[in-house]
Amino acid sequence: MGPRTRPRALTATAPEPELSVPPFRSKPRFEQRLRLLRALGTGFHAASLTAAAGVVAVLGAIALLLAVRSQEAFSRFGPRFLSGTLWDPVHGVYGALPAIVGTALTSLLALALAVPVALGVAIFLSEFAPRWLREPVAIAVDLSAAIPSVVLGFWAFLVVGPIMGHTVEPTLAAFTGGTGPFAGTPTGYDVLTASVVLAIMIVPTIAAISRASLSAVPRVQREAALTLGATGWEATRTAVLGPARLGIAGAVLLGLGRAAGETMVVAMTIGNIYQVPTSLFSPGQSIASEIIGHLESALPGEQSGLFALGLLLLAITILINVGARALIWNFSSTTPARRGPVGRRTAALRALEERSTGSPPAAASAGAGGTGELGVSTVRRGAARPGAARRWKHRTMVAVAGLATILALVPLVAIVGTAFVQGGGAVIHPGFYTRELPAACNPTGGSRCPLGGIGPAIQGTILLLAIAAAVAIPVGLLAGIYLAEYGRNRLGRVLSFFTEVMAGIPSVLIGVFVFLLLIATDPTVTYSALSGGFALSILVIPIVTRVTEDALRAVPVHEREAAAALGYPKHRITLRVVVRSARTGIVVGILLALARAGGETAALVYTAFGSPFFLQGLDQPVASLPVLIYKYGFVSQYANWSADAWGATLILLVILLLLSLATRLAARAPSTDQGNA
């Protein structure tokens, strides 16, 4: 397509090679054409700026709407809303403390569990693993990150919960004597389990970003450490971890933000009891899990309390994300020189200088012939002998990092394996893809339950993704173009920063926002496919914007300059040269963003809602695979619904993993052919 359209573009603005017919011989026509191009350019600039500003405006709108609708709760309870421990809709008393503590406890504990493993993975992949192993393992880690949280939660609910309740927690209780944080009766659905599963969820994210920070350290830095006699681990510690520390800190904060805002995983593992946890074995509730579990049945007063919880969650995650982005963005800059009084070390070195006045070591050693005591005296020449301890430390660290990597890959294997075992029976029936859900049934005696299908959910997911794509792709592309091509100024940097923050907003809040905007305002309006698609598009737009921005920024300047030298106006350079040059990256990014939307649950529960039937209209509730897994696998439990949920899990997992794998391979393939193109 490229070769055919490009010459046509040239004739519009530049002379043909054979100059027999100059295209703009008449001056008025040329100027008319110029005016048109200028108008188009201005219009394009304005449209892209609108899109970019719109993305950020949504962030403001979410905050505003939540603030307005939580007014009632805040004005009635004031600061007591934060410290109250009771949630009593009957008497209209609402306190946020249990949810706040639940969120803080689970996300921080998850972080404590995830960071060592994720750092091990990052260090192993960046520093220690053999070359041939790095790429496949890195892809597997990326795939772990592509597992939808509802699938992770469902698997955890049916597999991890029982293991924790029957084996891990009783063992912990026995070891610790059942005191302090390990007091109480282990049930398997509590703070500890939720934290463990959250940790499983955030390990791939933290590992991938940390690995990028480690790999960004130039190779020669490692070699500089090696030439000082460092072992492999010492080189990593001395030359790599230090420069990468801000990037790693940013990755850790991003992981914390994801854990704090995660809904499905926590809702399906924490036990859903609104109380301040007294031990790790206490069931509890997080902000997000409380909202997802109770918004549907909430009375108006209680709704206001839930929105107040949502506002708190928004504030927490924005703070964490701003911190993370600030760290990651600045991690290349060096720390400023310390000012103030002379430090101890400077003073100590000056004291050495004074003691040696008259015979500075350089002059003295010249006289001594450089053989003995003078010169650098701390280390005797040839005395350097690596202790066996140092080598063993290196080997131990390699082994630990390798084990962490294996550990990080276990959930992927376990989840895919369980999905095949549990869902394989359902998906081999052709009717599974076309039928509606069966009547709820548990087998009794010899009777067998009817096996249904997930036809409506497949239809709904496709429809929702189509709506999301139709909205998100144009807006995200325009916004990304603005940030990369027009936004090289303060406004652009601010918009770019908040686009990143927007990408870290918990999806449950996007669901609540759309619920408030479209559904809660008008009693005649119900949950609908349109609002679900809209929620997904809000989720996807910041991601599309970011990948577009990144891909466009990667296009070398000389391609733009070559087109500019032909007299191309800026908007044409952008659309015909830069976007085309970056199209692989953009397409891959869009597909990955849609893959994320395809597994999204929390944003759909109060927008598309879910339905057991095929589509009845765009303004009616619609089913989707993730919501089906949540509602029929977790909320209502019947044997044949559970079988359907497992089948849906398998289908969703296979599609999303294959899509992620294919896009990642596609993204890598051209980059090896064309160098840095």
């Binding site: 070359r131 070390r345 070591p361 350089a362 010169g375 650098v376 701390t378 350097a384 690596p386």
Partner: protein, 250 residues
């Protein structure tokens, strides 16, 4: 002069590509030996074979021997070899997150020196030897990267000599520097050869002439000529050498 390093049929590969062919010559103790040659002739690879850094690169392989004081470096533990043979890179490589003090102390700490007085003394002496002390005596807690390019390079030299190596390898240490900074480093190298065997790779012929006692001319991974520096420049035996030092190609 006694021999410090001896090369015996040293060959090196990156993957399937051979970059060094059967190098055999000796490098004397307490002198500066320069390696010159056009880009891509294997100068840097040669240097990296001496301290076994080449072995650490992916897909790299060597045959032949590098004898340090008569013992093959590949029969020695690589950490010991690298402590005995220090290296300074083309671009300055201060650890960007560390202060001037900690940059110099980093090698000492690896060797297990942790007592404050010993570290202070080692750092100060290294800074003085590297000719940097006068310029950093205001504040050694400033980041190493806050120094100018020439100062950073001398900081790297200070870091390298702090662990008291016997040989210093320098890979085009001045190619990223301006003439004044270059002159300082060259003066320093002349000082250092009293105590260290210096092997310097350079594309600057005048620099090799000024600094080196002996010069080796490499072309396409082969040793063309190796001689005392004045001999090699004034009376080259090979036509190829003559053309190169006369500036007819490069």
């Amino acid at each position: 002069m006694t021999t410090k390093l001896e090369l015996a049929e040293l060959s090196a590969w990156y993957g399937p590509k051979q970059v060094l062919y059967d190098l055999s010559f000796t490098i004397p103790d307490g002198a500066v030996t320069a390696v010159i040659g056009p880009s891509g002739c294997g100068k840097t690879t040669f240097l990296r074979c001496l301290n076994r850094l080449h072995d650490a690169a992916p897909g790299a392989r060597t045959t032949g021997r590098v004898l340090l004081d008569g013992v093959d470096v590949r029969r020695q533990d690589e950490i010991t070899v690298r402590c005995r043979i220090g290296m300074v890179f083309q671009k300055p490589t201060p650890f960007p997150h560390l202060s001037i003090y900690d940059n110099v102390a980093s090698g000492l700490r690896l060797l297990g020196v942790h007592r404050r007085e010993e570290l202070d003394r080692g750092v100060w002496e290294s800074l003085v030897r590297a000719g940097l002390w006068e310029e950093v005596r205001e504040n050694v807690d400033a980041p190493g990267t806050s120094l100018s390019g020439g100062q950073q390079q001398r900081l790297c030299i200070a870091r390298a000599i702090a662990v008291r190596p016997e040989v210093l390898l320098m890979d085009e240490p001045c190619s990223a520097l301006d003439p004044i900074a270059t002159a300082k480093i060259e003066g320093l190298i002349t000082e250092l050869k009293r105590e260290y065997t210096v092997v310097i790779v350079t594309h600057n012929l005048a620099q090799a002439r000024r600094l080196a006692d002996r010069t080796a001319f490499f072309y396409l991974g082969k040793l063309v000529e190796y001689d005392r520096t004045p001999e090699l420049f004034e009376h080259p035996k090979e036509a190829l050498t003559e053309n190169y030092v006369a500036g007819r190609f490069g």
